[in-house]
């Protein structure tokens, strides 16, 4: 089933690259996030509840912010043409042949120490964002 999600993700990335409208690209990004969440669910069914929640929060935040930004900006004519750089990223293909680590035991619980740390990170980033955008 995972290859089906891979094909869907590939199509969505091609849609992001090909489409001309920023808002349509943001919507494609949202569907890509949902497909990644589904792929994690397929990989580890133990992760379903917490991860789906986290990814939905992430996707909604990204969608809101990107759509607001896209609505306030306008496209200019200049295009950054770096297709060769994009093709060079395919040079990572031979790494598929490197043998990876074996699948270990699944830990389906979040360390409680992460909650204050991530809350502090988010608070800090929101404060920095407010200072950057309202200064």
């Amino acid at each position: 089933m995972l290859w089906l999600v891979s094909v869907v993700a590939l199509l969505l990335i091609v849609a992001v690259i090909r489409v001309r409208d920023n808002i349509l690209a943001a919507i494609s990004l949202t569907f890509l996030g949902v497909s990644v969440a589904g792929a994690v669910w397929l990989l580890h069914p133990e992760f379903s509840v917490a991860f789906i929640l986290i990814t939905l929060v992430y996707v909604v935040a990204a969608l809101t912010l990107v759509i607001v930004a896209a609505a306030s900006l306008s496209e200019d004519g200049s295009t950054v043409e770096m297709r060769r750089v994009a093709l060079a990223s395919l040079g990572a293909l031979p790494f598929l042949l490197v043998p990876g680590a074996q699948r270990g035991a699944v830990t389906a619980s979040v360390d409680p120490l992460l909650l204050p740390l991530t809350a502090a990170l988010l608070l800090f980033s929101f404060i920095i964002a407010a200072r950057v955008s309202h200064d």
Binding site: V16, L90, T107
Partner: protein, 78 residues
């Protein structure tokens, strides 16, 4: 094997979206695809704590990048 192909699709797709971008919003979208590759890589390790950290860092960097784009738009660079 399919897991690694999916990871490579996300990484190379994000790079490609950044490389052919024609606006800063498109650059942000490419970086988000790269963050999704990070979340998927954390999920491959089988530890939910890593996945949670990757998702929270994704939210934080999204907020910072969009704030930077607002600032650039206000100063007329976009």
């Amino acid at each position: 094997m399919t897991e690694l192909i999916f990871l490579l699709i996300l990484l190379a797709g994000g790079m490609a979206a950044v490389a052919v971008a024609n606006s800063l919003v498109r650059v942000i979208i490419g970086a988000e695809v790269g963050i999704m590759a990070g979340i998927w890589g954390a999920a491959l390790s089988g530890d939910l704590s890593l996945v949670a950290v990757a998702a929270v860092v994704g939210v934080a960097e999204t907020v910072l990048m969009v704030a930077a784009v607002y600032r650039l738009a206000k100063e007329g660079y976009v």
